[in-house]
Amino acid sequence: MYDMIKQHRHVIRSIMSAKAVSCTIKSPVALQIGDAVSDSSRPGVYITDINLAEPVNIQEISFKNYYAAYLTVRLQRREDGSAKWVTCLRNYCLMSNPHAEAGSHDYFSIYRQQDSERDVPVWLSTLTPVDEPLDLNGLPDPETVSSSIQQMWALTEIMQASQTAASIGRFDVEGSYDVKLLSYT
């Protein structure tokens, strides 16, 4: 595992000229659980930090694998003075079976399209409930209110889904004239 850094050849290409960009690759750091460092524990997750000399638009990341089964790539984006970490690849499978040999020494290239250029939708990121319990003193029961609103929303959806492009036949009425006959008058 500790030989990994020597085996890997990281190549990062920038979008502008499709040439390699120089970067500093730090030694992989193992994730530890708890405080004590135990010699016998072999953690399954390593983090490799890669620093770029200057911000670039990354087009492609190429590397040679050495027995890594899954890869997660996070990028730090600099936008208008603020720095934001985004996950562009999560648990990308490099080895179909972590206990077998397939993919263990393969070369991989990750391209820009593979990353989710859009951030996670706002509503999805706010799904997890707030930590502090809300003070519902005197407020209506949210379950009941939510249930009623959901049903009203669903009923509106049913109505909208049933709307067709059907239109009324204005001149198709019994006892009245046919449109085509108008031209003869």
């Binding site: 949210p142 609103i149 929303w153 009923l155 109505m159 709307q163 067709t164 046919d178």
Partner: protein, 273 residues
């Protein structure tokens, strides 16, 4: 036995044959036998689960036709009766009933070569009006909806539009009933009006969910339902109603709430042009 039965008649006349003629004459004059025959034929045709009820309905319709003289009124009430048999959520049964109602209302309209018939506009509008009132909607609540979907008297309404209009009215009736439940949930007590800020927070939660427009159906449903989850609703309510304020603020009465909720629905009803 025969003598006993005729005892009353004997007073009036001497001969048995005269009494018999009187009975038969009465029956044939009133057309009762034809009436009964027609009723029995209809009964055999439809084979309802409740024969007595069916016969009662049948004779009821006949008598109202005799009173009003208008076959139209009879067909509208018959159509309404069919539509009342299944809730709109029972999709296939409801659609079948809509088809039956449509056929009832298009009887007598000659099929034109150019485009096929349809329900006369006046009948269609009357149907929708009756549907709304049978669904418990007041005239003022239903009026803005009807303005959008009813047709002119002289127009012919094809089946798809007919079905759409009927479904919209049925769904709207449910929607208003739900909004009344919602108001009751928001109001702190049955006899006191609900707080205005709470009402507005709840209504805007619904409005935001309705305005979720982007993406595929599945994405829309997920996003909308996330907006109206109990946690989100609790958050919205807590934001406008901090603990310090008790029930001192302005209130919103039930009718105003219902009108605001109705407006959200009606705004999304396509205007029939």
């Amino acid at each position: 036995m025969a003598e006993k039965r005729r005892a009353g008649v004997v007073i009036m006349s001497d001969s048995k044959s005269a009494a018999a003629d009187g009975d038969q004459e009465f029956l044939s004059q009133a057309g009762v036998s034809a009436l009964l025959r027609g009723a029995l034929l209809k009964l055999l045709e439809s084979r309802p689960e409740d024969p007595v009820g069916f016969l009662a309905e049948h004779f009821g319709h006949l008598s109202s036709e005799a009173d009003d003289g208008g076959a139209e009124h009879q067909s509208v009430s018959r159509a309404l009766w069919h539509l009342s048999l299944a809730h709109h959520s029972q999709r296939s049964a409801f659609n079948n009933n809509v088809r039956v109602a449509y056929e009832l209302l298009t009887q007598g309209v000659p099929c034109r070569v150019s485009g096929g018939g349809g329900v006369r506009g006046r009948l269609y509008s009357e149907m929708l009006r009756c549907l709304c009132s049978e669904g418990g909607l007041s005239g003022s609540t239903a009026a803005p909806l009807l303005r959008r979907i009813q047709s002119h008297d002289y127009e012919a309404v094809p089946f798809e539009l007919f079905r759409q209009g009927v479904l919209t009215c049925a769904v709207f009736a449910d929607y208003i009933r739900k909004s009344q439940c919602l108001y009751a949930a928001v109001a702190s007590a049955p006899d006191r009006p609900a707080e205005r800020t709470l009402c507005q927070a709840v209504l805007s939660t619904l409005r935001e969910a309705l305005e979720t427009a982007d993406g595929t159906d599945v994405a829309r449903y997920l996003e909308a339902s996330a907006k109206i989850s109990p946690a989100k609703v609790a958050q919205a309510m807590a934001e406008v109603h901090p603990r310090a304020q008790l029930q001192d603020g302005p209130t919103m009465d039930a009718q105003e709430f219902e009108d605001a909720a109705a407006a959200l629905f009606i705004a999304r009803v396509r205007i029939v042009t």
